[in-house]
Structure formats: structure tokens, C-alpha cells
Symmetry: C2
Subunit: 178 residues, 2 copies
DNA sequence: TGCATCTATATCGAATTGATATATTTTCTT
DNA sequence: AAGAAAATATATCAATTCGATATAGATGCA
């Protein structure tokens, strides 16, 4: 599954411009699957070439046409085929955790700040989800929102209970970063 | 922080070949930060050019030299500077969750299988961590291992408690995927 | 003996990110 | 009402990274 496929998926929910598709990625998929203009616009061009979406263009003065994309029936089939495939493994990259891997090279105060900051950030995300989650239109969006909340909460709990393991480590090695 | 930086980090733990660095990524960082040969070898070349690592080459017959990389003192400084920076936000991509976003287009049986499979897979990862975690050499590796375990466990718990939300959704929409 | 796996190098196309450029309209603030 | 800021909307580009592929000797094991 690639960004092309997810653009198709978003278009099953209704016609949209490239800009609106980007917004959907940000508002409803950002936790799950990130996409930038640099991948969305080329994806839409390719999908149009292949007849999986159709495109109505509205001329405008002094700027590029506004283009509204719709999924075709061929696009719907392709999308269904695609989501019936076994999903590939998660891809996760965390600079935060990679930094902690080298906690012994950092001053204890730096580690403590890093963890404090992380906990605050995750709590902020949970709070904003709490106010949204129950108001989401579909059961599956509530499900995904709750999923994110559960994972963030588990992270916070784990950090609070186990940070001493790292902080002891850092303390001993704190002279290394002078 | 990029793969170049993490290659430096791995070399702070001892000299290594490109192959051994790849193995380290797989065995100790795979949950956190993935890297392939296609990024590791070019990274090592660039680091060598910049004097951040040094490289001893051992000639071999009929194949490329074996190259052992060591971090230089300039490399150590660069690495420390790098991990003192504020870490960028996590990057996460889950085809599994993206598929669930479109649960209403899939037959209920498919959704159920998908979730069953996911729970098994996560449980398998937890089991293999359970046998390793306590035997890891450093506190910080135990910490990271435990972190992974905690997050996977939270995922399993959430899926078990809330899968009905999706399965109901899929059931109602099951005719759509005929 | 033969087969699989491990060690070890490296490159290449394709996918994706993140930044940048452009320009109008809408909304907020003072 | 003026001016600033944010939203709408397009698109491209260099740099990063992935995933697959090619090569080939050594080692282990059945």
C-alpha cells in the first residue's frame, strides 16, 4: 500500500482537490500514515493517467487550474483489491528513542528534560483526542482515535515507571558530555 | 537525525564493517529506526570523506575489500552535537491501521482475520522480548525492550476490548465488497 | 556431497520528505 | 476600514531512504 492507494481511499469518501486530500491526511490519518504534497500531486497525476480517477479542471486567472478529482469504478476495484492484500509491517522511526539508546553519553539533566518534554507532548495529544474522539462521525474513526490514545497512555505510564533505569545510566556517564 | 548519524552512534560502541552495522540496526534498533544497505554504505562513504570515521581496508581476492570503520574524535563530537538537538517527531506508517480506516468496505470475516493475525504477531514479538529483555547487557537496552513490550501489550489489550466497534461496522457494509 | 545460511561488498530505480515558490481569498485583529 | 495572518490551491526539486538485486567465498550441517 502506497500513497497512491490511500489517495484512492480518501476519494471513496467523496470528490476532493489535492489540497483537500492533504488536509484529510493531516486531520484523519496523520497518526497512521503521513503524506506530503510532493507525493500527493504526482500520485493524482498518475492515477488520472491510469483512469483510476477522473479530473475536472476549472480555469482560473493567474494561477493553475483548480482540479477536482473523483474516483472511477475502475479505481474503486483497484482500491478494494489493494486493501484485501496482507498489510506490510509497520514502519516506525523515533529519534526520541534513538537518542535514549545513547543515554550514557548525555548528562542526566538532558535525559530528564527529554523525558519530561515527551510526557507533556504525549499528554497534550491525548487531551486533544479526548475532546474529539467521541464526536467523530464513524465507529471506525472512534476506534482509531481510541487506539492512538491507548498507545500514548501506555507510553506515558511506561516512561514514568521506568525512567530511573535511564537516569541512573546517564548520571554515571554524565562526565562524557562535558 | 539521519542514518548517517546513527551509523556514527553505532560506531561509538566499537569498530564495525558496514555489514555489522546493518546487523546492529536489525538486532538492536529495528523497532526504533530501520536502515537498509542502500542507505548505510553511502552514509559510510560520506562519513569517511568528511573525516568523521576512518576506514581500514583489507584486500581480498575476487571480491571487494573488507572495510572496518572506526569513529574519529571529530566524529564523536559531531555525534554528541547531533543527539543534543531536540529529536524530530516520530514517523509512523501502519498499513494495518490504514486498512482498518476502510473497514466498512471489507467483509466482516476479513476484518476479524486481520485483527486475529495482528494480535498473534504482536504476542509473538512480546514473547521473544520476554526471553531477551532481562538478559540485555545495558539498563538502557532493557529500558527500550520494555518500552516495546509495553506498547505492544497496550495494542493487544485495546484490540481485544474494542474490535467489536469495527466488526459491527464491517458487518453492515459487507455487501459492498462482493 | 550438496544445500542453506552467513559474511561482505555495492548499486539502482522508485518512493517519499520537506522545503520552497506563487498568488488569491477569507478571516481576524486593532 | 486597514493591515496582518491564515487558509485555499497549485506545483516542483534536491535529498533521503527503501527494497530489490548482483556477486561470491566461507561455514555449517545433514
Amino acid at each position: 500500500m502506497d500513497i497512491r492507494t490511500l489517495c484512492l481511499g480518501i476519494l471513496t469518501m467523496g470528490d476532493a482537490t489535492g489540497y483537500e486530500i492533504k488536509k484529510t491526511f493531516e486531520e484523519r490519518l496523520d497518526l497512521i500514515f503521513h503524506a506530503s504534497y510532493g507525493s500527493i500531486y504526482p500520485a493524482l497525476n498518475k492515477l488520472t493517467e491510469e483512469g483510476l480517477v477522473s479530473c475536472r479542471a476549472f480555469a482560473q486567472q493567474k494561477r493553475p487550474d483548480k482540479k477536482i478529482y473523483s474516483i472511477t469504478s475502475s479505481g474503486r476495484c483497484t482500491f478494494l483489491d489493494e486493501i484485501l492484500k496482507k498489510p506490510a509491517a509497520d514502519r516506525f522511526r523515533s529519534e526520541f528513542l534513538a537518542t535514549l539508546m545513547f543515554a550514557h553519553l548525555l548528562p542526566a539533566a538532558t535525559i530528564a528534560e527529554l523525558i519530561d518534554e515527551r510526557i507533556l507532548e504525549s499528554q497534550r495529544k491525548i487531551d486533544s483526542m479526548n475532546s474529539n474522539c467521541n464526536e467523530l462521525p464513524t465507529d471506525r474513526e472512534q476506534f482509531l482515535c481510541g487506539y492512538g490514545r491507548a498507545v500514548y497512555q501506555a507510553e506515558i505510564d511506561y516512561l514514568q515507571e521506568n525512567r530511573h533505569l535511564l537516569e541512573a545510566d546517564a548520571l554515571m556517564g554524565s562526565h562524557a558530555a562535558e
